[in-house]
Symmetry: C2
Subunit: 278 residues, 2 copies
Amino acid sequence: MTTRNFNALVDARWKAGFTLCINLDPEPGRIPPAFQDRPAIKGMIDFLKDVIWETADLVAAYKPNAAFYEACGKDGHEMLRQVIETIHEAAPNVPVIFDAKRADIGNTNEKYVTATFDELGCDAITVHPYLGPEAMAPFIDRKQNGIIVLVRTSNPGAGRYQDLLVDGRPVYQHIAHDVATTWNVNGNCGMVVGATYPDEMKQVRAIAPDSLILVPGIGAQGGDVDATVRNGMRPDGSGLLLCAGRSILYAQEEGSSPRIAAQVLHDQITAARQQLQR
Amino acid sequence: MTTRNFNALVDARWKAGFTLCINLDPEPGRIPPAFQDRPAIKGMIDFLKDVIWETADLVAAYKPNAAFYEACGKDGHEMLRQVIETIHEAAPNVPVIFDAKRADIGNTNEKYVTATFDELGCDAITVHPYLGPEAMAPFIDRKQNGIIVLVRTSNPGAGRYQDLLVDGRPVYQHIAHDVATTWNVNGNCGMVVGATYPDEMKQVRAIAPDSLILVPGIGAQGGDVDATVRNGMRPDGSGLLLCAGRSILYAQEEGSSPRIAAQVLHDQITAARQQLQR
């Protein structure tokens, strides 16, 4: 893993025309019937492996969320390990973002760094900003890994603290500016901005013209692809990772499949990008 | 676990005169020599079990931090499970706080709730405030469990965002007020305020006179017991959980033992409380 570089991997995928990031979040009750003939944990692992092999040529990144694995108790870690291993096998040039939203004091963050990058072999992690950049040094120091800071989250009540006005500007904009400057001494920091907030996306892109922005909220949460691309993409078509999970993984519930749903979303993003670059 | 109630457990420990919370954070390189004659993971588990049995009658709570277990990779979950099981066995009336600093959108927080309370059997969890109370509903809805929100963290750079002024008051005070009111509809929310910030402790206690405050930063981080008790304790001697970890677990490095170090700190807290109540 030591020779992998998150920025380089993402840049190459962007240059190849890919912007989609698939969330790999297993929900035991929603595994397709074809995977229900075996023990539940094995069914989920086999299903996720299938999704990865079916979509590996369509994505810019994969993003497993820690909570869905932890909820599986003692089997969760092994499930996550196998999912990450499968990504490295099926898509060796596609980075893995651990959507864990971690952050603690420095001494403790060193342990999260070990867990995420050394033990699990992920390429990037999402983190909370609340403790400030000083505490986050162990993450920031991992130059080859991506550190993606929550700036504007996709949930309906995100504004409660993120919109508090400080010197006439909302907190999320102060943090966006900081992440692009103070945090970014090693050039490895990105931000999270939800697709459900296109106006805030525009503000963040203006503040941080060069930053990687990870965008949850496409698909099941109702975020708009066109508005996201218009307000968040850089002129050269790079800069964004658009995340969808449930709408792809459980596409069979709508009579589709993960491959088809991923292809449709990829095409939609590509069309929006071409519209932008026209 | 369904009949356990975090508030009731803590109240009973306070009434019995206990305020100390021991952090159970295993560091492979610091296990005492007596536990080094076996595989590393077993050595750590046996050591932590010993610390629990030696200190069970001196504490108000135990607090394992997720990061230290996750850094142990595939064995981490089993280690954590055994530590929690040992607490329930050695100290059935002492609550377990999972210091995991989690927080995601609502749908995902449901999974963290399952992982923490149902799978692991913890009584409380620490969480980040950044997504706001709307996203945190799955935690807040667990009336019998404690939800302890980061308000003022113990790290040197905590002020970077926590001290930003909104309407003339720092962000951490706005959040403290919210946690004691909006978040606390079920009476199960507490806050984290670092012992390294006695002035901020005083402010938070004024804003939230009834709230449980979890206080990291005693011991290795240098927080002052007397100032913490003076500024944070309620008049009846309740309201605080003072956390120490490294200074107790690795007391042997200083020629002491976990039991003796815990007893010394308990006595120091008791003296400070008596001073206050005089």
